[in-house]
Structure formats: C-alpha cells, structure tokens
C-alpha cells in the first residue's frame, strides 16, 4: 500500500519499572483493512492497545496518526483524533435503553448543559439508523441493553464508536465469551465496517479461525516483540498457530501432551 497508514508506530517501548512490556514494536494500520493482532497472554497486546488508546504513555518510540507524530496524554486525546476502543466489558449499561447507552455522555439536547432537554426522538432515530447500517434491526430502541445478546451488544458498542467519529477501531477480543453463532455475527459486523473503506480495524483475538476469516494483515507478538507479520497472502501456508503460541512449535506441545496422556510417571 502506498497510502499513508492511519496509524503507524515505530520502536514502541513500554517499561513498568524493571519489567519491559513492549520492546520496540513497529506496527501500522490502513483504512479499510482489518489488522489482526495476535499473541498469547502476556505477549503485550493489551499494553500496545492501551498506548494507542491513550491509557498508557510509551517509554520510548513514536506513534504517528495520518503520518504526523501524536502524543496522547489521556484516552480523550486518542478519541479526539479518531481512535475508538471497544473493550471487552463494552462500557454498556444493562439497565439502560439502547438509545440511552448509545448516547451515554454525548446526549443530544436542547437548552443549557447539563439540564438541557433530551431530544429522544432524534436519538432514537439515529440509534436505529446506525444499528441498521451495521446489520442489526432493533425494533425498539427503548429496550434495555440487558435484553440483548452478547453479539448485539458488541455490535452496539462498535456502532457507537463509529458514530462518534472513530477512524481506527480497536476491538479487544470481541469474539471471546460468545457462542458460535454470535461470534459469526460479530465477524459479519467487522466485515461490514471494513467494507466502508474509511475505517481501520485492529482486531485482537486468540482465535486463529476468526483471524483468518476476517483479517487482511497480521502481526504476531510474543514477549513484547513482533515475531511475525504479513498480509493474508504472504502468510498463506505458514503455521499461524505456531506464531500465535509465541513461536513455540506446536508439534513440541503436541508431543508433550501425548506424553502426559500416555502414562502417569508421578
């Protein structure tokens, strides 16, 4: 790709005291692409996305947004330049309606803040339209989020991030903790967002199948470093599972497993 990546990071290092969580990460995401960020627990995925979303500040290295150096001192800074993070807990409130969740903290109102009257009709319409665009027809925007399925909630959180200006969508394990069918719904949502062409998606997952289904580009992390990267085409035939496990040959693990199964030697 010759276009400027929406986000590029160079030599990103993050230390927590004596512990080095990230040790020189290079990484870029392009509009209209799904970039899968893979790696085992503790590989540094969460640290990386927390830097991108402004929760942590890097110890060294540089983040570029649209080719320009960017410094985020808070999550607010990151969301102002269009980085929207959908965390696993989704930041949704179960007892509140779909519309009230959609506009939580960013309500449409007429009159003096914070006592301006809510424009419920408009907010209901926008919520309904944005949800339709992304593939879910909620008949009643007044229904509580508690009654929605996990997949629908995920979709609501994604639609909300996009509506409020996310150009880079960071999805933190959006398919974990969901049933099979709902996982597919979320992947469908991701593909719908991808099809818009103007949004870059960083897709964090543990699931090899999901990554292969949805992603255009892959980055594998292990122990705070990039151990592999490439486009879907480049990685064809490579042992993705091997990279996901942090570079430990899966065959070795399989041998160990069989050894344990065959006979207790304790």
């Amino acid at each position: 790709m010759t276009m400027t990546p929406l986000i590029r990071v160079e030599g990103l290092v993050k230390r927590f005291g004596p512990f080095t969580a990230l040790n020189g990460i290079d990484f870029e995401v392009h509009a209209g692409e799904v970039h899968a960020l893979l790696g085992d627990n503790g590989a540094g995925k969460s640290t990386l996305i927390k830097i991108l979303s402004g929760v942590y500040q890097p110890s060294a290295g540089q983040v570029y947004v649209d080719g320009k150096p960017a410094h985020f001192s808070s999550p607010r800074d990151a969301s102002l330049v269009g980085i929207g993070t959908v965390y696993q807990d989704l930041a949704l409130n179960a007892l509140m309606s779909v519309t009230r969740n959609f506009f939580m903290g960013r309500e449409l109102y007429r009159g003096p803040r914070p006592f301006g009257l809510l424009d419920m009709a408009m907010m209901n319409r926008v919520t309904h339209d944005e949800m339709i665009k992304i593939g879910i027809d909620i008949s009643d925007p007044g229904q509580t989020v508690g009654t929605m399925s996990g997949g629908q909630r995920q979709t609501l959180a994604i639609a909300r991030a996009i509506h409020f200006g996310a150009k880079v969508l960071i999805l933190d394990e959006p398919t974990s903790a969901l049933g099979q069918k709902q996982q597919m719904e979320v992947l469908k949502t991701i593909m719908k967002v991808r099809a818009r062409g103007d949004i870059a998606i960083i897709f964090i997952t543990h699931n090899e199948v999901h990554a292969k289904l949805a992603a255009d580009r892959f980055t594998f992390l292990a122990l705070g470093e990039v151990i592999g990267r490439g486009t879907k085409a480049e990685l064809e035939g490579e042992d993705i599972r091997h990279l996901m496990a942090g570079g430990v040959p899966i065959r070795e693990l399989e041998h160990e497993l069989t050894a344990v199964q065959q006979g207790p030697r304790i």
């Binding site: 007892l95 960013r106 006592f115 009643d140």
Partner: protein, 374 residues
C-alpha cells in the same frame, strides 16, 4: 434438518407482549398498586374521615414531608449511593435556623431575619453535602459508612451546640414569623387556599356552624410538588438524568463514555442536603420551634420510600413517580392512627417492615424482567 429455525432472529427471542407487559416492566407499578390498596383501606376504615377537608390537609402535610426527603434520597440511590445523614441534617439545619432566629446571626452580624437564617443555613448544608460527596468520591469508601459517620457527627454536633448556646436541646416560642415575613410564609404558611375556598363555595368544607372549615393546605405541599416535579423532569427528560442513571448502573462504563460521575454524585449529595434543609425550614416556620431530636430515623424512612417506589438498592433504576406513590403510601399509613383510633400506632412500623420486604422482592423481579432474566 435445521431449516426450521433459520428464519428466526435473535430479536425474536425477546417476548414483546402487549401493554400489560410494558406496564409490568415499569418500576412504579408495584408502588401504584400498594398505594391504591392503602388509600382504599384507609378510606373505608376511617369512614372517609381521612379524606375530608381536614383529613386531606393533615395527610398531605406528612406525605409532603416524606416526599421532599425521599425524592432527594431516591435520585442519589439511582446514582448508586446512600445518604444516611438526612435525618441528622434535618436536626442540624432546624437547629441552626431556630438558634439564629432566637440568638442572632453568628460572628456578631446582628439579629437574623427568616431569610438570612435560612440562607446561611442552606450554605452550611450545601457545604456539608459537598463535603460528604467529595469524601465519598475521593476516598472510594462506601457512602454507607461515610454518611453513617455523618449521621452520628451531625446529631452530636446539633445537641452539643444547642446545649452550649441555648442551655436546652429545644427552642420554642419563637415569634410567629409567617405572619410578618412572606419568606417565612412560603415555608410555614398555607397553600392551595383557593382550592379550599372553591370547595367551600361549592358547598363542602363546612364546619359545624356552617362556615368555612379548613382554609388551605400546608405550604410544604407546594415544596413537595416543586421538588418532585423538577426531579422528574431532570431524571427522565434531561442530559443530567441520563448521567444519573448511567452513574448508578455501571460507574466505570459511564466514566469511560465521558459521564462526569464524580460531579453527578457530589451534586446529588448536595441535593439531599437541600431537601433536608427545606424539610427543616417548613417545620421551623410552621411550628416556630426546633428540637435537637428532629428528623430522627428520617434517612431510613426516605430510603424505604424510595425502595417501595421501585428504586433499586443497587442503583441505575427507579422513577420519581414511583417515589411519589411511595410517599403517599407511607404518609397515609403513618397518619392512619389519627383517623382510625382503634388501631395501635406502632402498626405503622409493622406495615413498613412488611411492605419494604415485599418491595425488594418485586423490584428484583422487575430488574430480572428488564434485563431478560439475566
């Protein structure tokens, strides 16, 4: 074959149902049913006396008292916090106003007028509310324990100040300010006189000699209507209302979406202090007296009314209309002994215990219904 199920979508699993189901999901439905039952029972048992001209005035007087503090308490509960200092705050602000009116303003500022006594007391109360809220927000301690400490602290401070300055824990025989001062009148005076005049003109509201019997309701009824009306508007129709629900439902996710959860909670602690001050002002200017023991247990009654009105103990859910129903129910039952002399007044507490217990179960049921049984 799996074709049979393919046309169903996720949304079909949520039973829509008719109007009845929508009504059952509302937090105030249970409170409404209880209120209607209590109104009917008391009307029959008192032979209609509870709702004649005088009965209505007396009942609404106590209902309004409950309503004023329960409105503040319920908004705070919806935001996920408790205020156990309401009762002590009533005692404290009542004492402050009465002592200023009797002994003059502090710091040698001369004699107090009803307005200056109220204004200075309100400033103190709002400061205390802000202080309690800030401690809760900053320390991360549960509001239960922080406000419990203020319950003891304020009550003790009230008694100590009374004895030090006044040599007695009561002030009585203050001048009847409401005769002279319009400001005292709006708290201790009368309201809805026109309604009672109209009632008389239409041939009701007669005393034994055929003249007009009751001249109007207590002024606090108007305060209750103002406070409950404003609270209803803010909670259900404004941005601040959405923030209150969001803060109580899940504070972290509200904060992540940019809701100023700390400001919301501090403001609501100030609101309960405001409600307590208005409660006390109505009492002081109505009776021209104050007592260090005023407001005792009112914090727990306010919470009970909020719960009976459908407010969830865990926050995030409730309505002002439900609290209005709850206040009517509690006020009527608390006053029932005056209209039905045969019963023992302590049945009030028996009733409160039972109704509260049932309400908690009903609320849990509503919570399960609206969250799809999860």
């Amino acid at each position: 074959m799996s074709a049979a199920g393919t046309t169903r979508t996720e949304a079909d699993r949520l039973r829509k149902g008719g109007r009845l189901r929508v009504v059952l999901r509302r937090p105030e439905t249970g409170a409404f049913v209880v209120m209607v039952a209590v109104v009917a029972a008391i009307a029959i048992a008192s032979d209609g006396k509870a709702f004649n001209a005088l009965g209505l005035k007396n009942n609404l007087s106590i209902i309004a008292q409950y309503g004023i503090i329960a409105t503040g308490a319920s908004l705070l509960m919806i935001a996920g916090e408790f205020d156990l200092s309401i009762g002590s705050m009533i005692g404290f602000t009542g004492m402050a106003m009465a002592m200023m009116l009797k002994w003059g303003l502090p710091f040698g500022l001369g004699p107090a007028t009803p307005f200056t006594a109220f204004a200075l007391t309100l400033v103190m109360a709002l400061f205390l509310g802000w202080l309690i809220g800030s401690i809760v927000v900053r320390s991360g301690l549960s509001s239960f324990i922080v406000t419990l400490s203020f319950l003891f602290f304020l009550r003790g401070l009230t008694e100590v100040s009374f004895r030090m300055i006044n040599q007695s824990t009561q002030v009585s025989g203050l001048p009847d300010f409401k005769q002279e001062s319009w400001f005292a009148y709006i708290f201790g005076g009368q309201s809805f006189g026109w309604l009672y005049d109209l009632w008389f003109a239409l041939g009701g509201n007669l005393n034994r000699s055929g003249g007009q019997w009751v001249t109007g309701l207590d002024a606090r009824v108007v305060w209750w209507i103002i406070i409950a009306g404003a609270a209803w508007l803010v909670l259900s129709r404004t941005q601040a209302g959405n923030w209150i629900y969001a803060t109580g439902d899940n504070r972290d996710s509200a904060r992540a979406n940019g809701v100023p959860v700390d400001k919301v909670r501090i403001s609501l602690f100030m609101l309960t202090a405001l409600c307590s001050t208005i409660f006390a002002a109505c009492q002081v200017f109505d009776t021209n007296s104050a007592d260090a023991a005023k407001g005792n247990l009112k914090e727990l009654e306010a919470i009970a009314i909020a719960v009976v009105g459908g407010t969830l103990m865990t926050g995030g859910f409730g309505t002002v209309i439900g609290v209005v129903f709850g206040a009517v129910t509690f006020g009527l039952v608390a006053n029932a002994v005056f209209f039905i002399p045969a019963i023992d007044g302590s049945y009030y507490r028996v009733f409160v215990g039972v109704v509260l217990f049932v309400a908690v179960f009903l609320n849990e049921g509503v919570r399960k219904r609206i969250t799809g049984g999860l």
